[in-house]
Symmetry: C2
Subunit: 186 residues, 2 copies
C-alpha cells in the first residue's frame, strides 16, 4: 500500500509560507547538503502538489535549484488545480479533484510514497483519512503570520506518533498519523 | 544579565492552546518524567505570566500537578494583568505593565532566567527586543486552530539560532533570538 506523506519546511511557529505565500525567508535555510531530505526524497515515488504551492513563490526561482527538493526532484508530479494551464508543463500532470489525484499519484509511486506538497491538499488528505505520515523540517525563524502547516478553522485533535527526530542539519520530525481525522472514510 | 526565555509546549502545527484557550489536549502528553523540563526549571528564577495563561485552562486543575511545570514550580511568579484580583494569591505578584513586570521578575530571578509563559507576553518581549531564548516542547498532535506560539499580524522575520535539540521524551528545541524584532529598543 502506497503511503501518503506530507513534508514541509516550517518556521518554529508553524508557518510554511509567510503572508501572501512569501517564501523568501526560506532561502537562507536551504543550500547546504541535507542527508535527511535526501533520504526522504529517495522514499518518494510521486508528488501531489497543491495549486498554491505550484503557482506560488519559489525561493530558488530562476536558478538550477528551482522546484521540489531544491531542484533535485525528477519524478512524476501531479498538480491539483481547477485551472490547468493551457500549455502542457513537462513532467507535470494536472488533476482536478483529490480522489483522482491521489489515485494517479499512488499508481505512479508504486511501492514508494506519495509526497504531498501544500497545506490545503494535506488538510484535505487528513480529513479524508488518507494521510499516513508528516515530515517537518523546522527552520530557525519566527514568521508570526502566513500559511500554517495545518489549519482547520474551529480546531481538531489529530493524534500523531513520533517516528524519528533528527537534530542536524535542520531539526526534522517524522510522525505517523495515529487516528483518522473527523470525516475519515476509514 | 538575567536572560529572558519563553517556554511552551506546542502542537506540531504551532499552537500552544486550542480554540478558546482549550488545554485539554495537553493532558495526555504530560505526566511522565521529563528531565529536559526539569533541567529547564532548574535554570529559572522567576516566571512572568500572561493574564490569559494565568486565568486560563489548566489541564491539571484540581490535581496536585496544577500550575507551571506540572505543579513543580515553587518560586516567584509575576502575572501581567490590567485586572489584578481583589484577594491576594499566595506566591503571585500582579504587575500592570511589561516594563515593571520584567524589572520585578529580573530582580527576583537574580542570575537565573525569567521564564515567560503566554504568547502575548512573549510577543511583547520580542517586539521590545527583550527576549533572549525560546524553548519549545513539541507534542505529537495537530490542533489546526487556537493560540499560536507566536502571532504578529502581517508577519515578521525573527531569526533564531539553534542551541539544542533533544528528541526524548518529547522533542524539545532551544533557540537563541538572533536579532531584535522590528520595534526593538536595542
Amino acid at each position: 500500500m502506497t503511503r501518503i506523506l506530507y513534508s514541509a519546511t516550517m518556521s518554529l511557529d508553524g508557518y510554511i509560507a509567510g503572508p501572501g505565500g512569501d517564501m523568501s525567508w526560506l532561502a537562507e535555510h536551504l543550500g547546504g547538503p541535507n542527508p535527511v531530505a535526501e533520504d526522504l526524497m529517495g522514499r518518494i515515488g510521486a508528488l501531489l502538489v497543491g495549486a498554491r504551492s505550484f503557482h506560488g513563490d519559489d525561493p530558488n526561482r530562476g536558478t538550477d535549484r528551482e522546484g521540489a527538493f531544491g531542484g533535485a526532484w525528477t519524478g512524476p508530479s501531479f498538480v491539483l488545480t481547477h485551472r490547468p494551464p493551457a500549455t502542457p508543463v513537462p513532467g507535470v500532470t494536472f488533476v482536478t479533484d483529490l480522489d483522482s489525484g491521489l489515485a494517479a499519484a499512488r499508481a505512479a509511486a508504486g511501492d514508494r510514497c506519495v509526497n504531498i506538497i501544500g497545506a490545503d491538499v494535506a488538510a484535505q488528505c487528513l480529513a479524508a483519512g488518507q494521510l499516513d505520515e508528516i515530515v517537518v523540517f523546522i527552520a530557525p525563524v519566527l514568521l508570526g503570520d502566513g500559511v500554517r502547516l495545518f489549519h482547520r478553522p474551529g480546531g481538531a485533535q489529530v493524534r500523531l506518533e513520533q517516528l524519528a527526530v533528527t537534530p542536524e542539519p535542520v531539526p526534522c520530525l517524522s510522525l505517523r498519523v495515529r487516528q483518522p481525522a473527523a470525516g475519515s472514510q476509514h
